[in-house]
Every structure is written in structure tokens, then in C-alpha cells.
């Protein structure tokens, strides 16, 4: 099976007055064709930057300092010149954004904005593009697409706007979709519908999807596999069910424990991860998660645990991961143990 | 006594803030160059006669002479020393410009402070009035004022000052509003310092860097207005001479000597550029977001 995307040693830095600051460090992963990968973590963990880097949409002073981003045909996106990227963006990999209102140009009709994406990659007449726009809008569930195509973004509701953004992303037939918090800006019922839509489209079109989210509930409904990021690094990856059942990294465990479960005792306090993630400039020595970790011991201070394959496509960056995998470490964070 | 206790630290931080501004300015080459230029211009104007001799002395053997050891910038059509005339003209131009600045700062600061300190309705009304004044092309307003009050150095300073007052009012208001939100004013009020003392003792000193920046820009604009109106014959009246009138005289005899046009023209340009640059550099140094870059 050829991978839709292979990321190797991706490091992202911000160039300031002082020495460059690394925001994402040495991230490597692979995404199979048609696979749906969830990239989860708190804000500032580097998950959105990783997603933008795949599209080469980072804006100065943030930039990729090293690493390869290889598509299924072997193209290294990280090494391309700016003008060569236009042929990749939209056509091979497309993106869905967090806030659909600001993602659309407020003064142009949505139909024109989608048609523009078609014209960017195919030499078609305006009439053909227009027909495709209407089809796309219908496919993503915009009612009355002929009329709606001539309207402006502000005339759409939030959910409808996100459908437009999705239609635009699909317009040039990409094989890889990067969805950056696509439901975060929407209300709960709309979230569910957009997620269903993305799931249906991914299945029908055989899309490989990277879903960036901080919401493990969203990830659980959508993804095959999860990757957890913390302080700019991957700390755990594994198939969804395994990771949910038995998180190997204490941070994953903490994230899962902080998910509000319907079957939990409503009187019990909401468990939450204590403390704040470190900022990129002030990472602690050893394991970045150590200051917040309930299991930390002296080795964690000396030695940063590398991301190590444990078993069955699972990997974690924790000294205790093998033991945790074997079930010989008692969980320190019970769902009710929300000590702050 | 408790007042000094409460306001002491605030004043210290204010002073520290000003020291910080000076240091930040000194790191900006454009600010340093413009500050030095301004200092040189002021010095030259003050020492005009000792440096270049009398601006009205006539040397009949040298008419429209080229620059030489005796006349560094040559002479004009009556045999007067161009350097001496330019320095003397600069003295009047700068005097008018600083006069305009004083008027603008006095009227504008009062305007802005009252607008900031007064209730919502009055404040809004005063600012709307400032907006309305800014909507009329300034040169037209200046022409009406000249027509009404007549043309002379004094009225010129007054007119330019009034013309530039609304802009100062805006800056003063926003500077003061920023200060009003600060904690030390609450502290001062809590211990019963009178509002007037608060304004002059603390708010004014703290808002002063912003006002100095505005003053510098105002001088630049005023030099432009003086030069424009005098060039039109509507400003400084002969026999008084300013850069504007020198330029007018030079321009009338342009084909006899380009020199007499170029010298005051360059002087005006350099002076405006210096005051403009210093003012905007100071403004940028005051804005931490700009400072980041």
C-alpha cells in the first residue's frame, strides 16, 4: 500500500530577533491511502502548524526548518518552490479551515470562489466550471445550489459556510484532505452534521484525511488512528480503539480522562489535566510532560523518552510505555481524581 | 502626606518610562539623525548673524555671485549673502512654526483633555467638531483665515496653530484616555489628590512623550504651511524674510539664478523631513507593537 502522505523529521521554527524557536520538533508519521488520522492535543501543541506545513501554508516568520513531506507520487512538498506549490495545493492536497467565515473572501460570490479553484487546476470553460460548482454544492448538501452559488459568504449560516469550504476543497479532486478543527467554530448540532458529511465524502471519494482537533469525541467518531501531540512532539500514536482503551502515554490518559462522559457520575468533579503546557521557549529538561505527569520519576528528568514502537502499530514517547502496554502500571488518574 | 506615599511609585515608573523612551529612540538611526538635524537647524538659526553676518548687508561688487570663500552660498540679485539670508529666513520660519506649535499644543491639548475628562456627550461633541474641522482642506481654511485676519508672521503662527489644533486634540485625548485607565490615577484619587493636580502632576508628564511626538509633527506641518502661504504671497510680508518668501523671490528670478530657489527649497525640505521623522520615530518607539519589528 502506498502512503498518501509521509512526513519525516518535520521541524517547524519561528524566526525572531533571537535564535529561532522550534515550535514543532522532529515529527514523523505516515498516512495510508484512504486512512483517517486524528491529530489531537491542546492548543499550542503544534498540531495546526503541522497541518499547515503539509499544505506549505505557514506564514513568515514561521517556517519549516527541516524534514520531508512526501506525497504518494514521491513529491517532497517541503522542498518545492513557492510557484510549484500552486499545482499541488487544491489538486493533490486540500484544506478545510476552522472558521469558515473568515476563510471565505467576504466580497466575492461563493460560486465564483469555488469556480476559481477549478480554473486554477483545469482548463475548462466558465459554463463547465459553473456546472461543477453547482454539483459540488449539491454534493455537500447546500440546498438550492444554483441560487446559493450567487450569494455571498455572509448570507450563509455557519454550517452552510463550512459546506462551501468543503466543496471548494473537493473541487479539484484531491486525494488528501487536511481538516483543521473543521467543527470547532460551529454549534453542536451542526458539528455532528458536518462531521457526518466529511465521513461520507471521505468514504465515497476514498480520501485520506488528517483531522486536527482538540475534541476527542470528534476524533472518536471520525478517525481510524490517532496521534497525540504535546509541546511540539508526537507523544503517542495508535489505532483509535486501542488508544482509547489503553492509552500508553500519561498525557493521552489525561486527555481521555478529561473527556466529559455521559455515563459518568454528574456529581463527580470534572477531571482535568493539572497545570499548563510549557511554552516552546521553556521546555523542561528530559520529558516535556514531566512537570504535569503523575507517574514521573527521576529518569524522566534525565532522559527524554523517544517515540518508540511498542506493539501492533502503536508507539509512545514514555519510559513507562512498555509496562503500561503490558498493564503492569496502575492508572494514576482515575476519572474521578480531578486534583488541581 | 499619604498622597506622596501613594503617588511616589507611580512617578518613579513614569520617569523610568521616559528614560526607556530615550534609550529606545537612541537605537533608531533615523531618530538620531533627525534629532541631530533639528539641533543643528536650531543652533544655526540662533547663531545666524555671528556665523554668516548680516542678512541685509549689500555687497555691490558681488551680485548674483557663485559660492566663494567670502559668500559660502553666493549672493542674491542685490548682492546680499545667501547663507545669511537663509539662516535669518530660517530663524523666522522656525519662529513661526514653533509659535504655531505652541498655539496648536495649547488649544489642542486643552481641547483633547476637556474632551477626555468631560462627560460622554461633551467629549463626543468636541471630537465631532475636531472631525469636521479635519474634513475641510486645510489650505482653504488657511486662505479664509488669512483673508479674514490679514497676512503677517504673527497671524501666520496663529492661523497655522489653529489649523493644526484639531489633530493635536485627537492625540491628546487618546493619550489622556490611556493614562486615565491606568492604576495610579485611581490610587491618586483614592487618597484625595485634586483632579487638577492629578492632571498636571501625573497625567501630563505621562502623556508627554506622545505630545512631544505630536509637537514635532506639528512643527513640520507648520513649516509647510508657512512656506506655502509665504510662497503665495499670503504669509510673511516683505521686508521680513522667511524661507517661504526667499523661495518666492528666488522662483521669480529662476532663469537668472537657480541657486536662489534651490537653497531655501532644500532648507524647507530638510527641516520638514527632520521634524516629521523625529515625530514619527518617537510615535513608533512609543508603540510597543511597532517596537517589536
Amino acid at each position: 500500500m502506498t502512503a498518501a502522505l509521509t512526513v519525516t523529521g518535520l521541524t517547524i521554527e519561528v524566526v525572531g530577533r533571537d535564535a529561532p524557536l522550534q515550535l514543532v520538533r522532529d515529527v514523523s508519521f505516515q498516512l495510508g491511502a484512504g486512512e483517517r488520522l486524528g491529530l489531537v492535543g491542546e492548543s499550542g501543541s503544534g498540531k495546526s502548524l503541522t497541518a499547515l506545513a503539509v499544505m506549505r501554508l505557514l506564514q513568515a516568520p514561521v517556517r519549516i526548518s527541516s524534514g520531508q513531506i512526501t506525497l504518494s507520487d514521491g513529491t517532497d512538498v517541503a522542498a518545492l518552490e513557492e510557484r510549484e506549490l500552486a499545482a499541488i495545493r487544491g489538486r493533490r492536497a486540500a484544506m478545510v479551515y476552522q472558521d469558515p467565515l473568515s476563510a471565505l473572501n467576504p466580497v466575492r460570490r461563493v460560486g465564483d470562489q469555488i469556480a476559481e479553484a477549478i480554473h486554477a487546476h483545469e482548463d475548462v470553460t466558465a459554463a463547465v466550471a459553473r456546472r461543477r460548482v453547482v454539483e459540488l454544492l449539491r454534493e455537500v448538501g447546500v440546498p438550492d445550489p444554483e441560487r446559493r452559488a450567487d450569494q455571498y459568504p455572509h448570507e450563509f449560516s455557519g454550517g452552510m459556510r463550512q459546506r462551501v469550504v468543503i466543496a471548494m476543497a473537493l473541487s479539484a479532486g484531491p486525494e488528501l484532505l487536511v481538516a483543521d478543527e473543521p467543527t470547532t467554530a460551529l454549534d453542536v448540532t451542526t458539528q455532528a452534521r458536518i462531521l457526518e458529511l466529511l465521513l461520507r465524502l471521505a468514504e465515497q471519494r476514498g480520501l485520506a484525511v488528517i483531522l486536527i482537533t482538540h475534541d476527542l469525541g470528534v476524533a472518536a467518531r471520525f478517525c481510524d488512528r490517532l496521534q497525540v501531540m504535546y509541546a511540539g512532539r508526537l507523544v503517542e500514536t495508535g489505532p483509535l480503539a486501542d488508544l482509547y482503551r489503553n492509552p500508553l502515554h500519561p498525557y493521552s490518559e489525561g486527555l481521555l480522562a478529561s473527556v466529559c462522559r455521559l455515563d459518568a457520575d454528574p456529581a463527580a468533579p470534572m477531571p482535568a489535566l493539572a497545570g499548563q503546557p510549557p511554552s516552546a521557549g521553556q521546555l523542561p529538561a528530559g520529558c516535556s510532560f514531566r512537570p504535569r505527569c503523575a507517574y514521573a520519576y527521576e529518569r524522566c528528568e534525565r532522559e527524554r523518552p523517544p517515540l518508540t514502537e511498542i506493539a501492533g502499530g502503536r508507539a509512545a514517547a514514555c519510559h513507562l510505555a512498555p509496562e503500561r502496554s503490558a498493564g503492569t502500571v496502575a492508572p494514576a488518574l482515575a476519572p474521578t481524581g480531578g486534583d488541581r | 502626606m499619604s498622597a506622596t506615599v501613594a503617588t511616589g511609585p507611580a512617578l518613579e515608573t513614569a520617569a523610568a518610562g521616559r528614560v526607556g523612551i530615550v534609550r529606545r529612540l537612541s537605537r533608531r538611526p533615523a531618530a538620531v539623525v533627525s534629532a541631530v538635524t533639528i539641533a543643528v537647524l536650531l543652533l544655526l538659526s540662533l547663531l545666524a548673524t555671528p556665523i554668516a553676518g548680516s542678512p541685509t548687508a549689500i555687497d555691490t561688487r558681488e551680485i548674483l555671485a557663485s559660492p566663494s570663500g567670502a559668500h559660502w552660498l553666493g549672493t542674491d540679485d542685490l548682492g546680499r549673502d545667501v547663507l545669511a539670508r537663509t539662516l535669518a529666513g530660517g530663524r523666522l520660519t522656525l519662529l513661526v512654526a514653533f509659535g504655531a506649535m505652541a498655539v496648536s499644543m495649547a488649544v489642542g491639548t486643552l481641547w483633547g483633555f476637556v474632551a477626555a475628562a468631560a462627560g460622554r456627550a461633551v467629549g463626543e461633541g468636541l471630537m465631532r467638531a475636531a472631525d469636521a474641522c479635519l474634513a475641510i482642506p486645510p489650505i482653504l481654511l488657511a486662505l479664509i483665515l488669512v483673508a479674514a485676519f490679514g497676512a503677517s508672521s504673527w497671524t501666520l503662527a496663529l492661523i497655522s496653530g489653529l489649523l493644526l489644533a484639531p489633530q493635536t486634540a485627537r492625540i491628546a485625548r487618546s493619550a489622556l484616555l490611556t493614562e486615565l485607565r491606568s492604576d495610579y490615577r485611581l490610587a491618586a484619587r483614592a487618597v484625595g489628590v485634586s483632579p487638577l493636580r492629578t492632571v498636571f502632576g501625573e497625567l501630563l508628564p505621562n502623556a508627554s512623550p506622545a505630545l512631544i511626538a505630536q509637537a514635532s509633527l506639528t512643527v513640520a506641518w507648520a513649516i509647510g504651511i508657512e512656506a506655502s502661504l509665504s510662497f503665495l504671497g499670503l504669509g510673511v510680508q516683505p521686508p521680513e524674510a522667511s524661507w517661504g518668501t526667499l523661495l518666492q523671490e528666488g522662483y521669480a528670478g529662476l532663469y537668472r539664478s537657480v541657486w536662489l530657489t534651490v537653497v531655501p527649497g532644500v532648507a524647507i525640505f530638510v527641516a520638514i523631513l527632520a521634524f516629521n521623522t523625529f515625530g514619527s520615530q518617537l510615535q513608533q518607539a512609543l508603540d510597543p507593537r511597532q517596537e517589536e519589528r
Binding site: 476563510a103 476559481e116 | 486645510p138 522662483y251 516629521n276
Partner: protein, 323 residues
């Protein structure tokens, strides 16, 4: 429907109010100060025949109360009669009529020159801020912001007329009489005024473009595979131009102010030189009407700008269904 008409009427009302205030202000300013414009005409304050003075004052209506004078001016204004010049024997409308064409030609050309210079300059400066071209633009803009328009004009005359002998320094020929000579004569003043208009436009557009280029929808446009050029020209520029519209009025104000001095520099017989003459001679009848005309142009441009906003920015389109 109702919303749109109400909006237009409100804007129109505000414009008329501003115009009325401006007329009042101009008129009052010219009357509060002691001194009589007629004295200048009769050749100075000494040796004036009181009878001749009284007759002249009566002729010009200056013996009436200020309120009556104002009402008669405004009354005439509404009928298209601006009254009589205090000095020449012409009606003010005639004087303005003679001068309006050269000024319109100069100001119109300058406006076009300003736009043509400012838009590409701002684009370069905002999209490639570290390039040499951008640094040149920024330096030129700073210099032009500092130099009053007449200085730029004089510099042109010194270099192009006196030194190089390429273009005539001053004069005017109507376009219909000698198109080529007219263009040769208008070139320098139009460029001077155009540069004066361009500098603040560059500053404005540069800031607006810089902001727009960071907007998320620009990332979307890039992300769908548009070339950088298309992103900048198709998405960033139009969106950056819309807020700059607000300054169209200010720009026209710049033009109206600049035209006065620039016309004087180049001996251009337009409204600018008319107004300078009027100030010199204290010909209030001419002065107040030309100033009011300038304010009227300003108000009109502001009004059109407001309407244009509604057309160009669909979010502000009135009367359409809002979500």
C-alpha cells in the same frame, strides 16, 4: 426598498447640513474681522471720498446687515447666482466658469496619475517588503510626505525646464486649441499634484494590504492552488481597496488644497489662482463662493463614496436579507 432610500436620504441630508455649516462658517469668518474690502479697491485707507465709498458699499450690498447679506448670498446661490465680484466687473459665476475647466483637467489628470503610481507602489511595498524596489518606494513616499507639493513642483521646474529645457515651466493653452501644447504644459503640474496625492495613498494602501494579506481568506485562496499573483491581485488588492475608499474624500481634499499652490507654481489659470487672487484683494464675493464650491465637491465625493461602499462591499448592501 425603504432601507435603501432612507440611507441615501440620510446621507444626502448630512451632506446638505455640512454644506450649510460650511457656508455659515466661511461667511462669518470673513465678516467678523474689522476692515472693509472696498477700501482696497478705492486705493488704500487714505484720501477716500466718503461718498464714493458709501456708493460702492451700497452697490455691493455691504451696507446691509450681515444676516441680510448672508441670506441674499444663499438665496442667490439657490438660483445659481453667486453675486458680483467686488473688483472685476464680472459675475462670480462667470469668473468660476472661466477657471473651472483648467482646474478640472489638472485635478482629474493628477488623480489618475496618483492612482496609477500609488497602486503598484503599494503592491510592491506590501508584498515584497524587503526588496530594493520596496525600500525605494518607502523612501520616496517618506520624502513626498515631507515635501509640500509646491516644492516638488519647483524641483520639476528646476530640473526639467531650467536645466534640461524639456518642458515649458508655465502657461496654459486650452486643449481644444492646441492639444499637444496643452499636454506639454499640463504634464509637470499633473505629475506634481499626482505625486502629492500618491504619497498618502501609498501609506494607506500599504497598511491596508499588509493587513489583508494576513487575513485567513488569503490563506484559503493560496490553499486552493492559485498563483501568488492571482491571490494578490484577485483577492488581496480588491479587499484592501475597499477600506481605502473612506479616504477618497480626504484624497480629493488633498487635491483641492494642492491645486491652489501647484497652479500658482505653474501659472495655471484655474480656480486655485482665482482663490489666491481673491484673498490678496479681499474679494470676499469670489472667495466665499469658491470655498463653498470646494466644500460642495468634497461633500459630493463623500456622498458618492458612501454609496459606492454599498455597491462594492456586499456585506453593507442595504435592503438585502441579512442572515
Amino acid at each position: 426598498m425603504n432601507g435603501l432610500r432612507g440611507y441615501v436620504l440620510r446621507r444626502l441630508g448630512a451632506g446638505v447640513l455640512l454644506l450649510a455649516l460650511a457656508s455659515l462658517l466661511t461667511f462669518a469668518l470673513l465678516r467678523v474681522v474689522p476692515g472693509d474690502p472696498t477700501i482696497t479697491k478705492l486705493g488704500g485707507a487714505r484720501n477716500i471720498d466718503p461718498a464714493a465709498l458709501a456708493e460702492l458699499r451700497h452697490e455691493l450690498g455691504l451696507d446691509r446687515s450681515v444676516v441680510a447679506q448672508y441670506l441674499s448670498w444663499v438665496g442667490g446661490l439657490l438660483q445659481g447666482d453667486l453675486g458680483q465680484s467686488y473688483f472685476s466687473q464680472y459675475a462670480v459665476t462667470t469668473l468660476i466658469g472661466q477657471r473651472v475647466v483648467p482646474t478640472l483637467e489638472l485635478a482629474g489628470l493628477a488623480f489618475v496619475v496618483g492612482l496609477v503610481l500609488a497602486v503598484p507602489a503599494a503592491l510592491v511595498s506590501a508584498t515584497r517588503p524587503r526588496s530594493i524596489a520596496a525600500r525605494l518606494v518607502n523612501a520616496a513616499t517618506a520624502a513626498l510626505m515631507a515635501a509640500p507639493p509646491f516644492l516638488v513642483g519647483i524641483a520639476f521646474v528646476v530640473v526639467l525646464s531650467v536645466q534640461a529645457g524639456l518642458l515649458p515651466a508655465r502657461g496654459y493653452v486650452p486643449f481644444v486649441e492646441d492639444p499637444l501644447e496643452n499636454l506639454r504644459l499640463v504634464a509637470m503640474p499633473a505629475l506634481t499634484l499626482g505625486l502629492a496625492v500618491a504619497a498618502p495613498l501609498v501609506v494607506l494602501l500599504r497598511a491596508s494590504l499588509g493587513e489583508t494579506l494576513r487575513a485567513p481568506f488569503i490563506r484559503t485562496a493560496t490553499g486552493k492552488g492559485l498563483q501568488r499573483r492571482r491571490v494578490v491581485l484577485g483577492h488581496a488588492l480588491p479587499n484592501a481597496l475597499i477600506p481605502s475608499l473612506t479616504y477618497l474624500g480626504v484624497t480629493v481634499g488633498y487635491l483641492l488644497g494642492g491645486v491652489v499652490v501647484v497652479e500658482y507654481v505653474f501659472g495655471w489659470p484655474g480656480l486655485g489662482s482665482l482663490v489666491v487672487d481673491a484673498v490678496l484683494k479681499r474679494d470676499y464675493a469670489v472667495l466665499q463662493s469658491v470655498v463653498l464650491l470646494a466644500v460642495a465637491i468634497f461633500v459630493f465625493v463623500t456622498f458618492v463614496t458612501d454609496l459606492l461602499y454599498g455597491v462594492l462591499d456586499p456585506r453593507l448592501r442595504v435592503g438585502e436579507g441579512q442572515p
